[in-house]
Structure formats: structure tokens, C-alpha cells
Symmetry: C2
DNA sequence: ATGAAAGCGCTAACAG
DNA sequence: CTGTTAGCGCTTTCAT
């Protein structure tokens, strides 16, 4: 049972007061060169580790932030986290990662509560609808918050938004430019703003090029692989003709691809496909899949930067911002020319 | 600027001492029913949130653990994390996630240092070789540690080990049972214990069935997709005949598959393939890939359970254990019968 | 240049 | 059943 070395021990060993020891180690205030050497030597000798908990209690900040993600095995979320963590690390912050398991509101709320009690300096998340009231309540305590691809009514905080409309528009526009006129789409939950925006982009592209939007070619895959698998099969069995398919997230892309394969359809010969999100496995598919990349790493970086700014901005400037990050259409070989 | 509500405020509001308030809210010691009601009401009214930082300072434990993973976008590591996080959450612990970016030792050490200063109650990691000395040093401070698929000489801590030898053995044995006699293997770093163990399993299966081990069929892919791509191509160009390929992690599996595809080889008609690790995308491949699943979720669960046990075991029972988790051969359709 | 002492918010002896 | 008090480890006035 080794005793833990405190500042007091160092000070005693160096023959000075804790005040001085603290100053030397924190490198502020004034002290003689001689004492500095003594203190540093003692600290080194005793292998002193500052206690950040005590510092946090005193300073009122923990240099820790919380991140709540929807899934810990999904490319989008983990690249988002990667962006967050790497910039947090740069500024000496540590990050608590919590997994809401596909946006379960109770989980989100309990994490939010826990993170708040732990006095994290800020939180990044993309809250489920059910979490909005709780979020408003918790934010009254002035806990800095940054939202990812979402907004909460009545909550004046910054958010980093994916250009869902633009990304979908660009994808569909590309398909149209290849001569496709019957483009099916598999969306997420009907009531998810993200999902709605992507569908909106799909529709806008149709309008722009004077193509009719056929409701029969719009199916929901509930954001899951199985859901998209079923949706694709429904589409296929309906008899409504379509030459291209646009799928709006990673797991649904897997489901759709599998369904097309079981149906014996070849990409891009029988059907063109565009997915959303850009996991590494997509490039080894044959043909490699064309996708809309939401650039989650960049979003994470941006989100963290924004959060840290707000945390360290002592004055209460209320310049909350909403930043939209453009998506990137990564053209590979899953879309054929129909002309 | 809303003031933060402390225990003192609650006590004052309820007209009792902080001691009593603390007891009521912590539900220990004795107090009258009447005061309990008063305190609870005041806490509710003022929306009191306990300050875990202060609690941590007092109690000497933070109810937080640290996890360092090699990659935050790799299925194995993230499922490991999922297992850790979900059990940590069950016991009221929060987890700091750090990304060593493929086991960079400097990163590991700086995270280790940071986590230690933050007084996390314990750490789970799979240290790079370069980190071993630092780990020994830091552990002298009695910080509970659990290792994943690794051991550190001179460090008496528990570890949860993947059955690398057994898993590889089983995979190769399966190929042999299918009639394969020339089985190529793509390994990770030559000096990685994990890699060595998997190769050992490969060799043992050969011995067991009296098949010669051909060094020319053993190539290193350096744990990367590109590395495995190159290794596979080298294997192919060497002219040494082989009818099956065993690849020993996820990213290398991608590389090997891609190389086989560019070479125009069909799985399993021209060549049988077994991968390691079981990401979701593997099931949508056609044919779906047979793999050795290291069951990272189970390992994570086990690791966290072990760590929490050691943390909460007040008495210094020195029963460090080494637990081996069996792998699971998931048979799908990428292996053909050669007879 | 240095040190004594207060206090961040909480809990736990110890009295009463 | 309740309150007083000390102290976790640190930083920071405020004297000296």
C-alpha cells in the first residue's frame, strides 16, 4: 500500500510551503531560482503526480467533456468521435464516451445526468426527440452544449449540421445526369429531421430536372440493415420499375445491397446504387460503391472546436452559431449510364 | 449566471445541517422521517445535483475508468469497448475512451499519464511493447489494471486473453478437413505476440495432420489493408500454389479480398478464404465470409467485470487471474471442398 | 520571495 | 436523531 504523494509531501521534502511548491509546479507567481530547482527535484524524486480532481474542485472545471453517440460500431459515429477526441486531446481535455444504443432517450438522459453531475465542462450529442425537454432543463444550469446534425427548439446552443439536403440533391442529380428517371430511395425514420432533409434533397433534384416524384419509389428502412433489406425487397416485388437506388445510411446500404444480391440483380448493370457514409469496407466491394460522405471526422473536429471555444470564452458572448458542413459525393463504380 | 446549488443550500433551505442533508440524500445513517421529507423536498425544489468531483476528492475514488483502444473504427476494438461500457454503466461507472491510433506508444503513455492524474479507478488496455516500462512504473502507484490479449513481464495484473492459438488451429483444421493441403497465411507484425500465436496455431494444425509447413506460404501484412493487399499479390506472383488463404485480422481481410478480386480469383471456386474478426459487412459479401470471431464484446465484458472486482475488492487479495476466451469459428460460404 | 490560512463541496468521526 | 468539525489536495488572497 504505497501512500500517494501530495503537494504537501513535495513541499516538505523541498523545505518550502505548499504555496511555493504549487507556484513552481504551476509555473506562475514569483519564487527564486534556487527554490524552483529544489521543488522540481523533490517532485521528480518523489514521482509527484498532481491530483486533477482536487484541481478541478478548486478551479470549478474538469477539463473533461462528454460525448454521446448513437452507435459505437457505426462508421459515422466513430469517425465523428475520432475528430472530437483528437482535437480534445490537443487542448488537454479528456472525453467520456457514452453509447445511447441507437438514440434511446432514457439512456441519453441518464448519461446526460451522469455527465452533468461529474461536472464535465461540456457535452456533444445528437439528441433523440424524447430527450429535448430534459436537455432544456439541464442546460439552464449553463452547461455548454454542442449539437450534431440536430436542433432543439428553445435551446440556444451551437450546432454542426450535415448538409443533408445538398448531399442528397447532389447524389440524385448525378443519377439523373446519367440518364436515370426512375430512382428509388430508402429513407430512415419518417419523423427524423435528418431523414426528412435527405428525402427533401431527393425531391428537389427531381423538381429541378422536371422529373416527377413517385411516392411508390420511396420506402423507409428504419435505419437498420434488416429494415432496408425488407424495404428493397418490397420495392422489387411491387413491380414499379426503377433503375437506380439511393440509400441513406450505412447499415441500410448493407441491407439494400444484400437484397439486390439475393434478387440476382447486378450493380451497376441491372441497377445503379448510391449509399450514404463512407466506411472502409465499401471500397473493396466489386464494383466499389459510390456514396455521399458526410465527413464525420470534420464534423467532430468542428464540434469539439466550437465547444472548447465556448467553454473557454469566459465572457458570456452569446454568439451561438449553426455551421453546415458540405458533404462529398465519392464517385466510384456502382452507377451506370443509362443512355 | 445561475449559481450552482450545493448541499449547503439544500440544508439551509430544509433547516438542517449539511450532515443530515448528506445522510438523507445518500440514504445512510439515521434521521427522522420528518427531516427526510423536508430535505428531499428542498433538494427537489432547488434542483440539486450532487457534485461528484467533491465526492471523488473526499472518497478517493472517481467511479470512472479509462480505456485505451488501438483503433476507434475497428470492429474488434469497438465491440470490446461496447462490452466494457455497458458493464461499466451497470455499476455506475463512466468511461474515458482514448485512441492510441494503432498502438502508438507515445500516445499510450500520455493517455496513461493523463488518466492516472485524473485518478481513474482503473484502466483497461492492450499496451504496445514500448509502453511496458512506463506501465510498470505507473502501476507501482497501485492503479488497478486489466490487460487485453497481452501480458507485461514483471507486471502482476489480470489479463483477458484471446485464444489465438486455438482459433487459428480450428480455422486451419477446418480447411484441412475440406481437403486443403496448401494453405497460405497472412500474419500481422512479426514481433507481435498475438500474431505469433495465430501463426503458431496455423503450424500446430499442420503438425497435427502431418502436413508440411511451407515457409513460402507465410507472408506478413503488417495489420493493414494495403499491407495484406501487397502480401496477397506477392503470394500470387510467387507461383507457389495454394488453394486456401487464412488472414488474421479485419483490415488485412479487406486487403486480401481486394487482391484476390483484382487477380480475378473467385471465392470459393478458385480459392477458399477464412478471415479473423466478424464485422457486420462480412455477412453481405457474396459469398459470405467464414471467419474466426474473437468475441470482443465478451472480452470487454469480462475485462470490465474483472477490473471492477479488483477496484471494489478492498482487501488486497492478490488473486490476479489470466482468463482465456475461446474464439468461435463462424462457418459461412467462403470455403470450398477440394476433394 | 515566501507562508498562513481559507475554502472549493462533500462525508464521516465524534459529541451531544 | 442531529450538529460541529475536520479534512480530502489543491490554489489563492493577503500579509509578512
Amino acid at each position: 500500500m504505497k501512500k500517494t504523494i501530495t503537494l504537501k509531501n513535495v513541499a516538505a521534502d523541498a523545505g518550502v510551503s505548499t504555496t511555493i511548491a504549487s507556484r513552481v509546479l504551476g509555473n506562475y507567481g514569483s519564487f527564486s531560482d534556487e527554490t524552483r530547482v529544489k521543488v522540481l527535484q523533490s517532485a521528480e524524486k518523489l514521482n509527484y503526480q498532481p491530483n486533477r480532481i482536487a484541481q478541478a474542485l478548486r478551479a470549478g472545471n474538469t477539463k473533461a467533456i462528454g460525448v454521446i453517440v448513437n452507435s459505437v460500431t457505426d462508421t459515422f459515429w466513430m469517425n465523428l468521435f475520432r475528430g472530437i477526441e483528437s482535437t480534445a486531446q490537443k487542448y488537454g481535455y479528456q472525453v467520456f464516451l457514452c453509447n445511447s444504443d441507437n438514440g434511446q432517450s432514457e439512456k441519453e438522459q441518464s448519461f446526460l445526468q451522469a455527465l452533468n453531475e461529474r461536472n464535465v465542462d461540456g457535452i456533444i450529442l445528437s439528441p433523440a426527440l424524447g430527450t429535448h425537454p430534459f436537455l432544456r432543463k439541464i442546460h439552464r444550469g449553463k452547461l455548454p452544449l454542442v449539437l450534431v446534425d440536430s436542433k432543439v427548439e428553445g435551446l440556444d446552443v451551437s450546432s454542426i449540421i450535415i448538409d443533408n439536403v445538398g448531399g442528397a440533391f447532389e447524389a440524385v442529380e448525378y443519377l439523373i445526369s446519367l440518364g436515370h428517371k426512375d430512382i428509388a430511395v430508402i429513407t430512415g425514420y419518417h419523423d427524423s429531421p435528418t431523414s426528412i432533409a435527405r428525402l427533401d434533397g431527393y425531391k428537389r433534384a427531381h423538381k429541378m430536372y422536371s422529373l416527377p416524384v413517385k411516392e411508390s419509389l420511396i420506402e423507409s428502412g428504419d435505419y437498420t440493415q434488416q429494415g432496408a433489406y425488407d424495404a428493397t425487397l418490397r420495392l422489387l416485388k411491387s413491380g414499379n420499375k426503377f433503375t437506380a437506388l439511393f440509400v441513406s445510411n450505412e447499415s441500410m446500404t448493407r441491407g439494400a445491397l444484400k437484397a439486390l444480391d439475393t434478387a440476382g440483380l447486378k450493380v451497376p448493370d441491372n441497377i445503379s446504387v448510391i449509399g450514404w457514409d463512407n466506411p472502409e469496407w465499401i471500397s473493396i466491394l466489386n464494383p466499389a460503391l459510390t456514396v455521399v460522405d458526410g465527413l464525420p471526422f470534420d464534423i467532430g473536429t468542428m464540434a469539439c472546436q466550437t465547444l472548447l471555444n465556448e467553454i473557454e470564452m469566459k465572457d458570456d458572448n452569446n454568439n451561438k452559431k449553426s455551421i453546415t458542413i458540405k458533404t462529398e459525393l465519392v464517385k466510384r463504380f456502382s452507377c451506370g449510364n443509362i443512355n
